[in-house]
């Protein structure tokens, strides 16, 4: 046993040159990503110079990625403005939020980015992104039950897209498929803004008994700290502080890019089964995944959360390379590891469960009452720190903000001046070009690479508006999830863009018949050191927080990804917003496919809203004007009407309108149902506006004759406008007085694009 306090050996800076100048004898903090004042703060916290191990720990823990130092002051709004929700069991701050879904069940979900690693090594970067978010969900005590992925690339025909896309898609599939997690939806967006910085966001959802939520706090003097899973290696060291906390330009090009990790989904699968067994047998008192900043993060966060101390013996950590030094062991981001806190009495049972699943489990330390995290190695104390100083008391920045100088100009270049299709033939040709464009085309080439069936509970999956999973076979209770974002809307107006993303995800959940209850988000932005980016960020967060307040759906967790830029230009600000809904009986869900017959109704108001629209982009490479207006009251009424209709069984299909507008929605529902539609637009309608506008708050619904009046009454009672626009039937999409397109022509236009581009 090592004593609880030990003499800290005099630290020897790695790069001392012998120069007496104090500036020079300072430690290599800058190379580790720390600023001079941050370094000074470390010295003042410790009352001495940090050891190399401590310096490594502070540098990773105080990195943007781990400390949220630039975003903290803004993210607070999610909690401050959070609507009261009785369902919220765990809010922001834990690994993922948890909501009560009834019958003693709870659900946890979260979306996270793995943008930079996926650019460097597409397959493994994307794969380990899935692995990381799955461990977050597992950490809450939940069995992961589904994943989703939100992907953004440069132009579809850009050479680098061909380099990264196939690997990223294969990596998402490779990891998720091997874990046995159905992939139930996502996004695939192409825009030159992401050419040098693709966005790879991954979402995971899990289910757990509501009374068995796990916490990360390390509590109980004398309890043991057990490391589960993979051995610790040299891969991915500093991945967090370097990769996710700086732009590629500033890192210095490919040669200096730090290594990324290789994922091992098999080990993760065993880790999941092992942990679930530990949870079921109530064998752990605290658990934390090892993600960014590895062991440094897991030990400090658990000790800080438990307001305890911890003693770690680094010699016990199973290593892949024996020559690893303490800073490396602490900062390694080797995947597929978890840290558990267990009572001494439970240790044998924990080790037995681990052995049964073939998972390595090693006792590496214990919880103490000292309030210090003390780390020993080779008989020396290499770190002795107050854990809260790393986990909670990192630097906080109120970064300068400035409205982008070009925003007035962008807003002023309104798409209303763009040439529009005038004749029926032009409208028809526009429709065919639109549905074949990379953002609106069929995504099967991607989604076919994902297993959607495994676990046998997938009720809805892509291309449906939301994914839906049955939680319980007896009660038929289930959940629905959708995540959406639109960087062009957000570029034009970050406040509105974030709200539009929220509104779309909310509506996507609503059309299935589920009731939205909670929100997660992944905020993909440029450099926080750029005041214009910081302004976009602050506006987006404000918009999202206000939107969640209006909708009554709290933000339960999320992730911030800064430093996304193509060359020196920040990406279009891209908040991806995920909405979770619940449904009492999944057999009552509303699918998007047109049934054989029925009347088609358009719910909501259609206005000439083309700012940031897909039409302006596809036909004119234009981005300007104002994005569509959002009305949360309308969104709520709409979702409420759709949930009621699903419960009553009076509608047979519903599909939301988003990018590409009504034309796109009609084509998607027709192709999915293998049946056409005869559409008659209202007499006063401008067909171009009705077909392609992206006004929010709209849905198409098919109501069989029997239920139609009950449904329209239900809409009217809630103030949801509805317009009959035709009926299902035939083998073509026929627009009365305008044009017909056969299903076969629609299909070949819609489905040919991705196979042509990616083989």
């Amino acid at each position: 046993m090592t004593p609880e306090t030990a003499q800290v050996s005099t630290p020897v800076p790695a790069e001392v040159t012998g120069d007496a100048d104090t500036e020079q004898t300072r430690q290599p903090y800058a190379a580790l990503g720390l600023k001079a004042d941050e370094y000074d703060k470390i010295v003042s916290i410790l009352g001495r110079r940090p050891t190399p191990a401590e310096l490594a720990m502070y540098s990773v823990m105080w990195s943007e990625h781990c400390s949220y130092k630039s975003s903290k002051v803004h993210l607070r709004q999610f909690a401050d403005k959070a609507p009261k929700s009785e369902r919220l069991l765990v809010g922001m701050g834990e690994n993922a939020g948890v909501v009560d879904v009834g019958d003693g069940l709870a659900v946890t979900f979260k979306v996270e980015s793995h943008n930079h690693p996926s650019f460097v090594e597409p397959y493994q970067g994307a794969a380990t992104g899935v692995g990381g978010i799955v461990r977050d969900i597992l950490t809450m005590g939940a069995r992961p039950i589904a994943v989703m992925d939100q992907l953004r690339f440069g132009d579809a025909d850009a050479p680098d897209t061909a380099r990264v896309l196939p690997g990223i898609v294969a990596g998402i599939g490779g990891y998720g498929n091997c874990l046995g997690l159905p992939n139930i939806g996502g996004e695939l967006v192409f825009d030159p803004t992401y050419a040098g910085n693709p966005l790879v966001n991954a979402l995971c959802v899990g289910v757990l008994p509501a009374d068995r939520i796990q916490r990360s706090a390390a509590k109980g003097n004398g309890n043991l700290v057990v490391l589960l899973g993979a051995k610790t290696g040299r891969d991915g060291i500093g991945g967090v502080s370097v990769l996710a906390s700086a732009t590629f330009d500033s890192i210095g090009g490919p040669a200096h890019r730090p290594s990324v990790q290789v994922g091992d989904p098999f080990t993760e699968k065993l880790l999941i089964e092992c942990c679930i067994e530990l949870f079921d047998q109530r064998l752990v008192t605290g658990i934390q995944d090892l993600g960014g900043a590895g062991l440094a993060c897991a030990t400090t966060e658990t000790a800080a959360a438990g307001r305890s101390g911890m003693h770690i013996d680094l010699d016990q950590v199973p290593l892949r390379e024996a020559s690893m030094q303490p800073p490396e062991i602490l900062a390694s981001e080797s995947q597929e590891r978890m840290l558990a806190v267990v009572t001494p009495a439970n240790l044998p049972a924990v080790l037995a469960a681990a052995q049964r699943w073939g998972v390595d489990a090693t006792r590496i330390g214990e919880v103490t009452g000292t309030g210090r995290l003390v780390i020993d190695w080779h008989g020396e104390t290499v770190a002795d720190v107050p854990p809260g100083s790393l986990a909670d008391d990192g630097p906080v920045y109120q970064r300068p903000m400035r409205r982008p100088a070009d925003l007035d100009l962008l807003e002023g270049t309104d798409p209303s001046t763009l040439p529009r299709p005038r004749t029926a033939d032009e409208l028809r040709a526009t429709l065919l070009r639109m549905i074949a464009s990379p953002n609106l085309c069929d995504k099967t080439w991607v989604t076919e690479q994902f297993d959607r069936y495994v676990q046998g509970n997938t009720v809805l999956a892509q291309p449906e508006d939301a994914g839906m999973i049955r939680l319980d076979e007896k009660s038929q209770r289930g959940i629905a999830i959708s995540a959406d974002g639109n960087g062009r809307y957000t570029r034009l107006n970050p406040h509105a863009g974030a709200q539009l993303a929220l509104a779309e995800a909310y509506r996507n959940v609503g059309v299935t018949g589920a009731t939205p209850i909670a929100v997660t988000n992944c905020l993909n932005f440029g450099s926080p050191e750029d005041p214009e980016v910081m302004w976009q960020f602050a506006e987006a967060v404000r918009g999202l927080a206000e939107g969640c307040e209006a909708l009554g759906t709290p933000v339960t967790g999320g992730n911030v990804s800064f430093y996304n830029s193509t060359g020196s230009t920040p990406i279009n600000p891209t908040p991806v917003v995920g909405v979770l809904g619940m449904i009492d009986n999944v057999a009552r869900r509303t699918p998007m496919a047109f049934p054989a017959q029925g009347d088609i109704l358009l719910l909501g108001d259609t206005k000439a809203e083309f700012g940031g629209s897909e039409w302006a982009w596809v036909e004119h490479r234009h981005i300007g004007g104002r994005p569509p207006a959002v009305d949360f009251g309308r969104e709520q009424a709409l979702a409420d009407a759709l949930a009621a209709a699903a419960r009553m069984g009076i509608i047979s299909a519903a599909h939301d309108l988003s990018e590409g507008g009504l034309a796109q929605a009609l084509v998607e529902s027709s192709l999915r149902g293998r049946v056409g539609a005869r559409i008659t637009l209202p007499e006063a309608a401008d067909p171009f506006v009705w077909l392609f506008s992206e006004s929010a708050g709209r849905v198409i619904v098919v109501a069989p004759a029997e239920g139609r009046t009950r449904f329209t009454d239900l809409c009217t009672a809630r103030g949801v406008p509805w317009t009959p626009i035709g009926a299902v039937g035939g083998a073509a999409l026929a627009l009365a007085g305008l044009f017909d397109v056969s299903l076969a022509d629609l299909r070949s236009a819609h489905e040919g694009t991705l196979p042509r581009l990616f083989g």
Binding site: C178, D264, G358, V454, V586
Partner: protein, 230 residues
């Protein structure tokens, strides 16, 4: 208890098995008792039939099914199959049956190199196996396929023999999803008790969660046989 209620079908869980719970659900839906078998336990616990489920046993990094073949339970499965016990290998289970030499040939990387999951049309080519007797010969099914290494290959004489002896159980129709020889989706041994399929019948038992209920017949078939034997 009657034989029907008492029929026990074992489903083996290997490290990395994924569709084991789904197979258990399908077995129960068909009316049998599902018994979980564990890879490390060299005991079939008296089951009347065995399902080797889909998944990625041991990660399938080296070659699908290559490591699972050495699991203690497999020596029991191989021995029991030799005595006529009905054995169904689904996807990873099919790969494992080939690796274990209970079925000829091998399953290799899909020709297009992608993992592919889709609802696949299939034709039942023989009903003279323990697992297909409840179908009509020539019946068309829609059942999910999902794999990265599902392309069946074997040398010419082996394929000719499979065809000549009527041992091709299932064939892909309306498009071959992986480049499999002769559009082969499933085969059987010469006694008809061991069947390997790439498609996943356990995912086609309920239209709420699958494309059809066409997969139930595989489980119903073996039950029928067990009842007849009893």
């Amino acid at each position: 208890m009657t034989a029907r209620v008492g029929s026990k079908i074992g489903i083996v869980t290997f490290p990395g098995s994924l569709d084991d719970k789904d197979a258990e659900r399908a077995v129960r839906r068909a009316g049998a008792e599902a018994v979980g078998l564990w890879h490390a336990d060299a005991d079939l616990h008296g089951v009347d039939a065995v399902v080797l489920p889909g998944g990625f046993s041991y990660g399938d990094y080296l070659r699908c099914g290559a490591i699972a073949r050495f699991a203690p339970v497999m020596s029991e499965v191989v021995a029991a199959a030799g005595r006529g016990l009905p054995v169904l290998g689904i996807c990873n289970g099919f790969q494992l049956l080939c690796e274990s030499h209970l079925l000829p040939g091998a399953l290799t990387r899909n020709q297009h190199l992608h993992f592919r999951a889709r609802d696949q049309r299939l034709r039942v080519e023989t009903v003279e196996t323990a697992w297909t007797s409840a179908y009509q010969k020539g019946a068309l099914l829609t059942v999910p396929v999902k794999n990265g290494e599902g392309r069946f290959v074997a040398d010419g004489p082996t394929v000719d023999r499979l065809e000549a002896e009527g041992r091709v159980v299932l064939r892909y129709v309306d498009g071959n999803p992986n480049g499999s020889l002769h559009d082969i989706a499933g085969i059987t041994n010469d006694r008809g008790n061991v069947v390997g399929l790439m498609p996943h019948p356990e995912h086609a038992i309920d239209t709420l969660t699958g494309p059809s209920t066409d997969g139930l017949g595989f489980f119903a078939s073996v039950l029928r046989r067990l009842v007849a034997v009893a």
